[in-house]
């Protein structure tokens, strides 16, 4: 009682930060992906949650069946013309802020499917934050993509759809 001065004790036990930094840390540590497996890339996306790769280490293992509970959409596979409106609707149903990872060659550019049925890159439909190359990408590559997204969130960079918004502050207005 009164033997230790109050000042050094407080300095030892209290960490100062900003609310914004705290929020970003919380966001990047709990990215919940929506399940959007469209093709063979989905198999690699599933294995990333298994114990060998263990996406839970990065707080992103909780794949949600409802877009209302998801922050991240991993588009894993080729998007057909018929699927595009569905994908867009599900993306619009996700609460903000939200991010999109385009996984693999087909989602990023159409891949080998340069034909009438396949959208030549999912960025024609939704704004994409991180592109993961590969056919299919290895689970390590998808992990790297998610870590890149975490870095982006930590730095406080806005999601792609806000970047593309016509005026700053106009939320969700993309194209």
């Amino acid at each position: 009682m009164g033997l230790t001065p109050a000042q050094p004790e407080v300095e030892r036990s209290i960490l100062l930060t900003t609310v914004d930094k705290m929020k970003r840390w919380a966001q990047k540590s709990s990215i919940w992906p929506a399940t959007f497996g469209l093709a063979c890339c989905a198999i690699e996306m599933m294995s990333v949650t298994n114990s060998r790769y263990d996406l839970a280490r990065f707080g992103a293992e909780v794949f949600r069946a409802s877009p209302r509970q998801a922050d991240l959409m991993i588009v894993a596979g080729r998007v057909s013309q018929k699927m595009a409106p569905v994908l867009r609707t599900i993306w619009e149903q996700m609460p903000e802020p939200k991010w999109v990872i385009s996984m693999g060659a087909c989602a990023s550019s159409g891949g080998v499917f340069d034909n009438y049925a396949i959208i030549q890159g999912v960025d024609h439909v939704v704004p994409v934050d991180v592109y993961v190359p590969g056919c299919p990408p290895t689970p390590e590559a998808l992990l790297f993509g998610i870590i890149k997204l975490q870095e982006k969130i930590t730095l406080g960079l806005p999601p792609k759809y806000l970047e593309l918004a016509p005026e700053p502050g106009t939320k969700g207005a993309w194209r």
Binding site: Q81, K82, G110, D114, N115, Y116, A117, Q120, H124
Partner: protein
């Protein structure tokens, strides 16, 4: 093991002498028939010969030639384990008699041929697109359909 029934070719030839032709194949008995007598042949095959299953209806686009489209029906005899192939041609602006009255299972296969080739089947109960969106323009498996997809950008 080949359990097909090659004798059916001669039986069909005597039954339909004017409109039926035997096609040389390596795998299974095949006949080509004019589309006018197609349903008669199908009734005969299903009711009297016992080919009670229609496995698939395929379409081929032989574009420069006329008639343009060829329908290939694969039939199956569950008792004999025998297969039979029937081919028939139809013009681009013509209609094909629907096999749904003989085999109800031809329904979706014919819708697929309509969806991707634009072949119209007369007497089909629900001739609408099956794979592509309803508002789609054109029939993608036709030879004159653009090879690469529409660019959004």
């Amino acid at each position: 093991m080949n359990r097909n029934d090659p004798e059916i070719l001669t039986r069909l030839e005597t039954r339909f002498p004017a409109t039926l032709a035997i096609v040389e194949t390596v795998d299974q008995p095949t006949v080509a028939v004019a589309k006018e007598s197609l349903i008669d042949l199908f009734r005969h095959l299903a009711d009297l010969e016992g080919y009670t299953m229609c496995l698939d209806v395929c379409a081929v686009d032989w574009m420069p030639t006329n008639p343009r489209f060829e329908l290939v029906y694969h039939l199956y005899h569950p008792g004999k384990f025998a297969r039979l192939r029937v081919k028939s041609r139809v013009e681009e602006d013509g209609t094909m008699p629907s096999a749904t009255a003989v085999w109800a299972g031809a329904n979706w296969a014919e819708r697929e041929a309509y969806d991707l080739f634009g072949i119209r089947f007369e007497g089909h109960p629900n001739l609408t697109r099956i794979y592509l969106p309803d508002e789609w323009e054109g029939h993608p498996l036709r030879k004159d359909y653009p090879l690469t997809g529409p660019r959004v950008d």
